[in-house]
């Protein structure tokens, strides 16, 4: 079936498009983008004025928890959360139970994703068997089964030698190595950013240097091996400095920043709710200078991607003492609103830049389809309503888990509709578009 999206502002930075265009979808592919395209038997979908048609957003850092931790999230609930948040595709981390270090687990995840039929799911495989940091996982097998990158996320790759070997080996397939950058000895038993607020609240700290050491290691090994290295969920200004230096030296280093790291600071540990475990994640919320540096990096292009590090945890697991609570928050359904409200409406970045960060760049880094509206690309579209008033309600999240620090926040900008493979998979009732 053919659908013709008419009336919206179309932004596709890969093709240099930003203007009032029509987009023609033919089945699961993009057939044409242009002004006043003929209807020619297609179902016309009127995009209300003020809404923006973008290539589908891709979140390259998501924990779907299945297999093994289905009480937190499943592929079905996670992808429902994704499409409600405007993401047509997610890349899911291998720290499931069992770890995604072989084709069976990868196949299981992909089967669950097909069954759910919502967002596309790109599994990311483990660097090491069981993510234990001893022996390389079967990386070629993982790639063949559908993994798009490798990481031992949740932890850094155990040794510099193993990381070097992984980068050399994955480089053979052009597979990205994604690293949770952290020096474990410096992190020790830290639960929060080492700074004034952790000192005040008596929480064990981990300094920004703990992350930056991991970044420096990866940049050096990327230089040594010539392979690409991607910094996951970057949070510290010293990490950004290391990434910039690497980029300036022509080293193939890229990085992503999560919305909570460009929105919140460690002040949230103490207020409005003291010791709110929904302000506990790793890397932690850092001080204002770090938050501001993340924003500056997004603005000047040093940061390549906005990714959520969506980390669902059951309410029972979070309803404990701060230092006993697991790290992580959900992020899929708040990312677009936070990006619009904090970065676009405040004039820091343009909408085309936002589309790069959320679509074009993650597609390019992972080597997956999408990221543009080029003819022949999958018909994956995110329609955003940049002026929609959104009130975050944790209870109403599609994710199985509700662990967000943004409950009750009022934000400007949201998702109107999400189309995957030509099929509308999410329509926001507050910004209805008639798909017919």
């Amino acid at each position: 079936m053919k659908r013709l999206l008419k009336g919206g502002r179309v932004i596709d930075p890969v093709n240099g498009i930003d203007g009032m265009h029509d987009v023609l979808l033919d089945g699961d592919r993009i057939a044409a983008v242009g002004k006043d395209l003929p209807v020619d038997g297609a179902t016309v979908v009127a995009v209300p004025a003020g809404m923006i048609v973008c290539p589908g957003f891709i979140d390259m850092h998501v924990h779907l928890r299945e297999p093994g931790q289905e009480h937190k999230e499943t592929v079905a609930t996670g992808t429902a959360s994704a499409v409600a948040g405007g993401f047509t595709a997610v890349a899911c981390m291998p720290n499931t139970s069992p770890v995604n270090d072989n084709a069976n687990v990868t196949g299981y995840i992909l089967a669950k994703a097909a069954e759910a039929g919502l967002a596309r799911v790109y599994p990311i495989g483990a660097v090491s068997r069981g993510s234990k940091g001893d022996l390389l996982a079967d990386i070629a097998e993982l790639r063949q089964a559908g993994c798009v990158a490798i990481t031992d996320d949740g932890h850094p790759v155990a040794t510099a030698m193993l990381l070097r070997r992984a980068m050399e080996y994955a480089g053979m397939f052009g597979m990205l190595v994604i690293e949770h950058c952290e020096d474990p000895s410096l992190k020790a038993d830290g639960v929060a950013h080492e700074g004034f607020h952790a000192a005040r609240l008596g929480l064990r700290g981990m300094p920004g240097a703990c992350e930056a050491l991991g970044v420096e290691r990866g940049v050096l090994l990327s230089e040594l091996t010539g392979s690409a290295f991607h910094v996951a969920h970057m949070s510290a200004r010293t990490s950004l400095r290391a990434v910039r230096k690497g980029k300036d030296a022509g080293i193939r280093v890229t990085c992503e920043v999560a919305p909570h790291h460009f929105t919140l600071t460690d002040e949230s540990l103490g207020s409005p709710i003291p010791y709110d475990t929904n302000t506990k994640m790793n890397p932690p919320l850092r001080e204002a200078a770090d938050r501001d540096a993340m924003i500056a990096g997004i603005v000047d292009g040093s940061v390549d991607v906005i990714a959520t590090d969506h980390a669902p945890h059951h309410a029972d697991e979070k309803h404990v003492e701060f230092d006993r609570a697991p790290f992580g928050i959900v992020g899929l359904e708040t990312a677009v609103s936070l990006t619009l409200d904090r970065l676009v409406h405040s004039g820091l970045i343009t909408l085309p830049r936002m589309v790069q960060l959320l679509s074009a760049n993650p597609a390019r880094l992972l080597g997956v389809p999408g990221g543009s509206l080029s003819v022949g690309q999958p018909a994956d579209i995110t329609v955003i309503a940049p002026d929609l008033r959104v009130r975050v309600a944790a209870r109403e999240l599609r994710s199985k888990s509700k662990n967000t620090p943004f409950d009750g926040w009022e934000l400007r900008g949201g998702v109107a509709a999400t189309i995957v493979g030509g099929r509308p998979v999410f329509e926001n009732p507050d910004a209805a578009i008639a798909f017919g």
Binding site: G195, F196, R200, G202, L203, R204, P274, F322
Partner: protein, 327 residues
């Protein structure tokens, strides 16, 4: 006559009530509320000198002392305070090992709450444990030490002891020497003493000084002589032997050589300096016996005053109402 009246008026800068129904930390208290607690503690102290050391104030109130960490001094002190006020008391010591078996802190406490206590005195290894309970409990929560966060009644009894000797807190130089990083006593004392206008110096090896400690309005140094110079009060903090040696400084011997409080070091302090220690002491590590047992030591007075201060806190919170009005 009018002058005595105005003097009486000026000394009564105490608040008339505590706004919060919990005592989670000194951070939440205003200077006026601190004075109210200290003034009330003065009245309570007299009760301890009677032949019958008991008043009926908290008759019919049930107080649960819930201790997830071993503690002799603080738990005993609270128990005596509760008994002197005629409360029904129950002390529960829960080894953290049994917590590992499954029941969460919230469930443990909600189970206790089902038996309708009025107040819960909580000691717990996790910072913020009292905040967590204050959000789910009907009872008033009194923090008897939460992780590395606060130990408010210790700071209040320290202030009470200082005030008894110096008749004021404002303008005094107080040097706090020891493991600053892991100490809830430090955090509560820093909050209290800076609120009350004391000049606070903190001192320890750089490995044991929390990040950005000076943002609390204190001076930090690793030069113990500088910290002690002209001090009115020198407060030593416990060095936790088991986890310190080799990790935060090379050896206990070396710690004593560089930071241990000796008569020689005390010569730099004011001639009427007070020596304080929240206990338990490590003689020959943070404090020499000559100092602990010396003429300036008020360490045992601190323990006695702890009962009066805890009686004051229990009494003032026993009303159990949140007060909106500013102090």
């Amino acid at each position: 006559m009018s002058s005595s009246v105005s003097a009486a008026a000026s000394e009564r800068v105490a608040a008339t009530l505590l706004r919060s129904r919990h005592l989670l930390g000194i951070e939440d208290l205003s200077p006026e509320e601190i004075i109210l607690i200290l003034d009330t503690a003065e009245a309570m102290k007299e009760i301890g000198s009677r032949s019958i050391k008991k008043v009926p104030a908290l008759r019919g109130k049930t107080v649960v002392n819930l201790f997830f960490e071993p503690s002799t001094r603080t738990r005993t002190s609270f128990e005596i305070a509760e008994k002197r006020l005629s409360a029904d008391t129950l002390s529960i010591a829960i080894a953290s090992s049994s917590v590992v078996k499954g029941e969460t802190l919230a469930d443990t406490v909600l189970n206790l709450e089902a038996m309708h206590p009025d107040m819960i005195v909580l000691r717990h290894a996790s910072s913020g444990a009292c905040h967590l309970l204050s959000r789910i409990c009907r009872s008033a929560i009194i923090n008897a030490g939460d992780g590395m966060h606060e130990h408010p009644t210790q700071a209040l009894l320290d202030a009470f002891t200082i005030r008894e000797h110096k008749s004021r807190l404002a303008g005094l130089k107080v040097a706090i020497v020891g493991d600053l990083l892991h100490s809830r006593v430090l955090r509560s004392n820093v909050q209290l003493l800076t609120k009350m206008g004391a000049e606070v110096w903190v001192c320890g090896p750089p490995t044991l000084i929390p990040t950005e400690i000076t943002r609390f309005g204190v001076r930090a140094t690793s030069d113990v002589n500088q910290a002690v110079a002209d001090a009115d009060v020198v407060m030593l903090l416990r060095i936790q032997l088991e986890r310190m040696e080799g990790a935060f400084f090379p050896s206990l011997r070396e710690y004593f050589n560089v930071f241990g409080m000796t008569d020689a070091r005390l010569k730099h302090a004011k001639p009427d300096v007070l020596i304080m220690h929240p206990g338990p002491m490590n003689r020959g590590v943070e404090i020499a016996s000559e100092v602990a047992d010396g003429p300036f030591s008020v360490i045992l007075e601190q323990v006695s005053n702890g009962v009066a201060v805890r009686m004051a806190v229990l009494y003032l919170l026993a009303g159990g109402v949140e007060h909106e009005t500013a102090a």
